[in-house]
C-alpha cells in the first residue's frame, strides 16, 4: 500500500506542478468549451441553449479525461523511462503493478480535478443540467469508466512509444481523432452511419453519451445508451482496454532499452 501511495503522491504532485500538463489537460478543454459555447449555438432555439451548453460541457470534461489518460500518462511513462527512473525502480524491491496502480490513480485524480474545472466554467457560461438523484452517481460512474479506458490507451501508448515527445503527440492525436470520429465533440446522430456504430462501440464515446443522457436529457443524444446491453458493452470494453494496457505495461513498460 505504501508503494502505491508513494507512486500516487509523486504522480499527482508532478501533474499539478507541470505547466505543460496543466495547459493541455486543464486549460485546453476550457478554451475549447468557451469557443464552442459562444460560437456554435447561433441556430439553436434560445430555450435550448443552456442544455446545448451542458452537453458541450460534458464533452469537454470527457475530453480533459482523455487527454490526461492518453497524453499525460504515456508522456510521464516515457520520460521516466528516458530519465532512468525505471532502471532505478528495477533495482529496487517494487513490482511494476504497484507503480502502475499509483500512476493510474494519480492521473485519475488529476483528470477529475480538470473535469471539475471544466464543469465550473460550463456553469459560468450558462450550462444547465436536468439530471438529479440517482442520475448523478450513475454519471460519475460513467466518468470513471472514461478514465479507466483512457488510462488503458495511455498505458499502451506509454509502453510502445519509447520517446517522450512521440508519446505526447501520439496521445494527443489519438485522443483528438477518436473524439472527433466517435461523436465526443458532436451529437452521435450527426455522424455518418458507420461512425455511429463506432460511437456505440468505443467505450469513451458511449460513456460520454450516457452522461449527457443522464444529466441533460434524452433529446440531446441520438440513441438510448442506457440499455443493459449497451451499458455492459461500455463497462466490458473500458475494463478490457485497461487490462490490455496493464498487461503490456507490466510486461514491457520497465524493460530497459
Amino acid at each position: 500500500m505504501g508503494q502505491i501511495l508513494a507512486a500516487y503522491v509523486r504522480g499527482l504532485k508532478e501533474a499539478v506542478r507541470d505547466k505543460a500538463t496543466l495547459f493541455w489537460t486543464g486549460s485546453w478543454p476550457v478554451i475549447w468549451l468557451i469557443i464552442v459555447t459562444l460560437t456554435f449555438v447561433g441556430d439553436v432555439p434560445q430555450e435550448a441553449v443552456p442544455y446545448v451548453r451542458a452537453s458541450m460541457t460534458v464533452s469537454m470534461m470527457v475530453f480533459a479525461l482523455m487527454l490526461a489518460g492518453m497524453s499525460h500518462l504515456p508522456a510521464g511513462i516515457a520520460w521516466d523511462r528516458k530519465n532512468g527512473l525505471f532502471a532505478k525502480l528495477r533495482s529496487m524491491p517494487i513490482k511494476p503493478y504497484r507503480d502502475f496502480i499509483g500512476r493510474v490513480f494519480a492521473v485519475g485524480t488529476f483528470a477529475l480535478m480538470a473535469a471539475a474545472v471544466v464543469l465550473l466554467i460550463g456553469f459560468a457560461l450558462g450550462a444547465r443540467f436536468t439530471g438529479s438523484g440517482v442520475a448523478i452517481p450513475q454519471a460519475i460512474g460513467f466518468l470513471l469508466l472514461t478514465i479507466l479506458a483512457s488510462a488503458g490507451v495511455g498505458l499502451i501508448i506509454g509502453t510502445l512509444i519509447r520517446r517522450p515527445q512521440g508519446a505526447v503527440t501520439t496521445g494527443v492525436a489519438i485522443a483528438v481523432i477518436l473524439a472527433a470520429l466517435s461523436g465526443v465533440f458532436a451529437p452521435v446522430d450527426l455522424l455518418p452511419e458507420p461512425l455511429q456504430v463506432f460511437a456505440r462501440v468505443y467505450p469513451i464515446s458511449s460513456a460520454q453519451t450516457s452522461i449527457v443522457y443522464l444529466l441533460v436529457g434524452s433529446d440531446a443524444v441520438g440513441y438510448d445508451p442506457l440499455t443493459s446491453g449497451q451499458v455492459a458493452l461500455t463497462i466490458a470494453l473500458s475494463f478490457a482496454l485497461l487490462l490490455v494496457g496493464t498487461l503490456l505495461y507490466s510486461k514491457l513498460g520497465w524493460r530497459p532499452d
Binding site: 505504501g2 508503494q3 501511495l5 508513494a6 507512486a7 503522491v9 509523486r10 504532485k13 508532478e14 506542478r17 507541470d18 521516466d80 528516458k82 530519465n83 532512468g84 527512473l85 532502471a87 532505478k88 525502480l89 528495477r90 533495482s91 529496487m92 524491491p93 517494487i94 530497459p256
Partner: protein, 309 residues
C-alpha cells in the same frame, strides 16, 4: 566475504558480445572501480549486478543471492538524472523511502537525515529543477544510501560535477566504505578510479587488468608521461615525438600528444629543443607520474578519451 561475485558472465546485444566471460569478486566493504571507455560493457555489467538487466549466461551473486533476490540490499544510481524536477529534494527522497517500505513517519525522519548527510538540508523544499548538477547527483546518490543497503552501485556519478562537488561526493563515499558498505563505481575517469581500493579495467567486454591503483601503475605504466601541446598537430610532430617514446608510439589527445619515457626529467628539455629545431612551436609541455589512464593506454593502445569521445 564476497559482496559481489560474477563468474563467466556473457551478454549479447544484436549479435555483439557486450560482456564476454567476465569474472569479478568484490569483497564486503571494498571500494571497487570499474574503469573503461564507452561501449566497453561496464554499464551493462553494473546493471546486471543491480538486477536491472539479465545475463545470457554466467553467474552473478550479491551477498550470496541472485541480484533479483537481493534488491533490498542494493542501492543503484544509474547514469541518468532520474529524480523528478517537479518535486523537492525532500519529496524525492520520501518517495524512494516509501518504495523501500518505510512508513510515512519513518520516511520523513530518514529523509531529513539523508538530506543532512548529503548537505542538502538547507532548503529541503527547493524543487530539484532548480538544483545544480552536483546537488542533483548528491540527492540521487542519497536515494541509494538508505539503511539496510549494503552494496552501492554508481554509474558515472561524477560526470558534470565541479571539483568542490566531486571532493565532497568522494568524502561521502568514504564514509560509507568506513561503515562496511561495498561500493562499485563505474567510470571512465582515471582520477575517480584512483580513489578506489581496487580497480578493474574493462575493454571489449573483458576485464583486462585488475589490482590496486598502485599495483596497476607499477605493473603496466612504469614510465613518466610527457604531454606536449604544439601550435599545430602534424605528422612532423608525431615523427619527432616517436623518437622519445619507449615503444615508439604516440598517443594523440584532444589537444596535443603524449609519449612515455623511463627518464622523463632528463628528456623533457630534449623534446622541446628537437621540436623547436624541426620548426614546431611548443605551447605547453608537462611531465606527470603515470595514471590509470596511462595504464589503460598501455594495455589497449587506446586513450579513454579517444574511445569515449
Amino acid at each position: 566475504m564476497s559482496a559481489i561475485r560474477v563468474a563467466d558472465l556473457v551478454k549479447t546485444y544484436g549479435g555483439r558480445r557486450v560482456l564476454d566471460g567476465v569474472d569479478l569478486d568484490i569483497q564486503e566493504g571494498e571500494f571497487y572501480a570499474l574503469m573503461g571507455p564507452n561501449g566497453s560493457g561496464k554499464t551493462t555489467l553494473a546493471s546486471i549486478i543491480a538486477s536491472v538487466r539479465t545475463q545470457d549466461s554466467g553467474v552473478v551473486v550479491v551477498h550470496g543471492k541472485p541480484p533479483a533476490l537481493a534488491r533490498g540490499l542494493i542501492g543503484y544510481v544509474p547514469q541518468e538524472n532520474f529524480s523528478s524536477t517537479e518535486l523537492s529534494g525532500k519529496e524525492n527522497l520520501t518517495y524512494f523511502a516509501r518504495l523501500l517500505g518505510y512508513s510515512r513517519r519513518q520516511a520523513e525522519q530518514l529523509t531529513v537525515e539523508m538530506l543532512q548527510k548529503v548537505g542538502l538540508y538547507q532548503d529541503p523544499g527547493k524543487r530539484v529543477g532548480k538544483y545544480s548538477g552536483g546537488m542533483r547527483k548528491r540527492l540521487e546518490v542519497a536515494t541509494a544510501m538508505f539503511p539496510g543497503i549494503r552494496v552501492l552501485i554508481l554509474d558515472e556519478p561524477t560526470t558534470g560535477l565541479d571539483p568542490g562537488a566531486r571532493r565532497s561526493f568522494f568524502g561521502m563515499l568514504q564514509e560509507k566504505v568506513d561503515k562496511n558498505t561495498t561500493i562499485l563505481l563505474v567510470t571512465h575517469i582515471g582520477s575517480d578510479a584512483e580513489l578506489a581500493s581496487r580497480v578493474g579495467l574493462i575493454d571489449n567486454g573483458r576485464i583486462i587488468a585488475e589490482g590496486t591503483p598502485e599495483e596497476l601503475k607499477r605493473k603496466y605504466a612504469v614510465e613518466d608521461a610527457i604531454t606536449v601541446e604544439t601550435a599545430a598537430k602534424t605528422e612532423g610532430v608525431v615523427s619527432v615525438l616517436k623518437g622519445f617514446d619507449v615503444g615508439g608510439e604516440v598517443a594523440e589527445l584532444e589537444a596535443g600528444y603524449r609519449v612515455y619515457s623511463r627518464n622523463g626529467d632528463r628528456v623533457l628539455a630534449d623534446v622541446v629543443r628537437t621540436l623547436d629545431q624541426a620548426g614546431h612551436k611548443v605551447l605547453r609541455i608537462e611531465m606527470g607520474r603515470p595514471t590509470l589512464e596511462d595504464v589503460f593506454f598501455r594495455l589497449t593502445q587506446k586513450t579513454l578519451q579517444e574511445v569515449t569521445g
